[in-house]
Symmetry: D2
Subunit: 191 residues, 4 copies
Amino acid sequence: MSIDTAELPDPEGPEDRPAPAGNPGWLSDDELSFVRGRLPVVYVEAVPVRLDGLGQVIEVGLLLRSTPDGVMTRALISGRVRYGETLREALFRHLENDLGPMAFPQMPTALVPAQIAEYFPMPGISSFVDERQHAVSLVYVVPVTGTCNPRQDALEVSWMSPEEALAPDTLDELPGGRGALLRQALSTVGY
Amino acid sequence: MSIDTAELPDPEGPEDRPAPAGNPGWLSDDELSFVRGRLPVVYVEAVPVRLDGLGQVIEVGLLLRSTPDGVMTRALISGRVRYGETLREALFRHLENDLGPMAFPQMPTALVPAQIAEYFPMPGISSFVDERQHAVSLVYVVPVTGTCNPRQDALEVSWMSPEEALAPDTLDELPGGRGALLRQALSTVGY
Amino acid sequence: MSIDTAELPDPEGPEDRPAPAGNPGWLSDDELSFVRGRLPVVYVEAVPVRLDGLGQVIEVGLLLRSTPDGVMTRALISGRVRYGETLREALFRHLENDLGPMAFPQMPTALVPAQIAEYFPMPGISSFVDERQHAVSLVYVVPVTGTCNPRQDALEVSWMSPEEALAPDTLDELPGGRGALLRQALSTVGY
Amino acid sequence: MSIDTAELPDPEGPEDRPAPAGNPGWLSDDELSFVRGRLPVVYVEAVPVRLDGLGQVIEVGLLLRSTPDGVMTRALISGRVRYGETLREALFRHLENDLGPMAFPQMPTALVPAQIAEYFPMPGISSFVDERQHAVSLVYVVPVTGTCNPRQDALEVSWMSPEEALAPDTLDELPGGRGALLRQALSTVGY
């Protein structure tokens, strides 16, 4: 399968869905563009996993997204934290957005994440690049127990063994250095 | 309620239940006594909790145990790791022993625990005392989703709010410094 | 000692010091005010500590600040992460700002912090309140090995034993719920 | 370089050095052999690293050991925790044993390690194998600031970049699955 990671869709472009009127957390295109050039943006990211009966990770879920021009790319669950929104609310919102309402994620009990990732628009500052913004991301490994039905623009959640997920070919399909991030997140659960 | 923590039962006294013949992990009284004086013993401990829909801890479970002479004492879930047994197996075994088969604990995805506790038979070396042994304990916060039916010698699992669990009176009812350990474990989930 | 925590100075008011011209990370008063109402702001915080030879925390440093109207208040080291700045750079900048250039902090090897704190301008959403903004803060315990000479507006770094730092009277002197945060941070190092 | 990892020396064989008379933590060959077959043994392991001024790991130290029959093998710093010894004391003792008295390690402030490793004598139970014993190991990343002069049987501490340390050829030179452990430990510091 050919996966072009050069052009990424903005999965939230500009915002995943409008918030109720008057919610200061929802930003217009212009506002989002302005603040993205002034402040690091807080993100949450999640690696969905399936567990055996003793809590060992046995499967890893990766999103398969198509860009506006039809190119496929792999992704973690990822999205920004809005003004006034707690980290737990943001994480749950993005899990539900990307996995559907029947995924039944086991939300983390601790806010301290598995990994912290820093994204910069310019390469070379950290391991991770996001052309849109400077983002500081809290990355969680999140077990899901239900059925995943991703929203429209994520065509598929593909489940694979940790070994398959960590194969160099798979890691390379995650853009912006997120292959290394997936590897770091899975190392916290023994891989 | 008056709770005397001076005399503790050995909840495993000497071993919670016999292992199949030939299992080197099960030790006779004499063997256990010998090795306990030669090596630090590996323990797992768990603080059972209940969560709201976003993963926030809303209730904490404490065991209420009666000593052989009828005195009540509070306890965390706690037990040693046997030779040949994985940490996950030991944690699950002790959770099932103390909470029953219908507790449905959410086993941790990562082996790195919320806290490490060192117990010594003599006070003053660390914050924690265990008159029976030198133990190194891996302490986890474990959400349970089902119904808890403790085995016979633990009369009750009492559920309380995190604030009640952290009240000085409650913490004092945990022997051997385990009140401080409960406080440390709950601080990892935001309390 | 009477410490009024009702009115806090903005220790960065509006920004601790100007950045070089053209640095998009430095914001004017109006810009900072605008973005603070639109996005959660990324913060780093640090609890400075002194260690014994085996790495055990034996002293905790708390800043003693005077507000513009002369009231004293205790504080952790704390400040925002600028656009384009790494977390390590921000942490080091704020440590140097508040402890002086001869403090020789032992910077953390891992970016995953001891605790994550969420501040909201309105009370009740999380444990922590910051009237100025919604902030997501990464909190580190940072050993210092040198001599601390705080900048002008922090009159003093007072060093005390962990027990003194955790006394209810001391914790109450930290505004916005930061007493609980100090307690949580020190629990990761065994207190 | 040809490195045979099939036959490993016991770096403590049977014990690194005698303890003072009457110390129950020191075991004779027979005693150590007996307890090793009855209980999991507590270990500490360390990955020595060098940092830049902001705390980023820039070099990784690996021990180069020769077996009794002259074969070279790579190793992490590793050793058991004795009866009555704290984890900090054991970690410091093994660091000094393997790096010499002038290494000036920055001991960890928190006891919670970067990774937990379980070793079993029989392969297939966990990722890690130790033919001598069932061990539960707490693995730390430890910055050193001084000069390393290993004791006699470790011929060399070789320093290399994180990228070199993580090269498959280097990881393969660590026996018993410890290559994966080194990878997991370095992922906690951003690699």
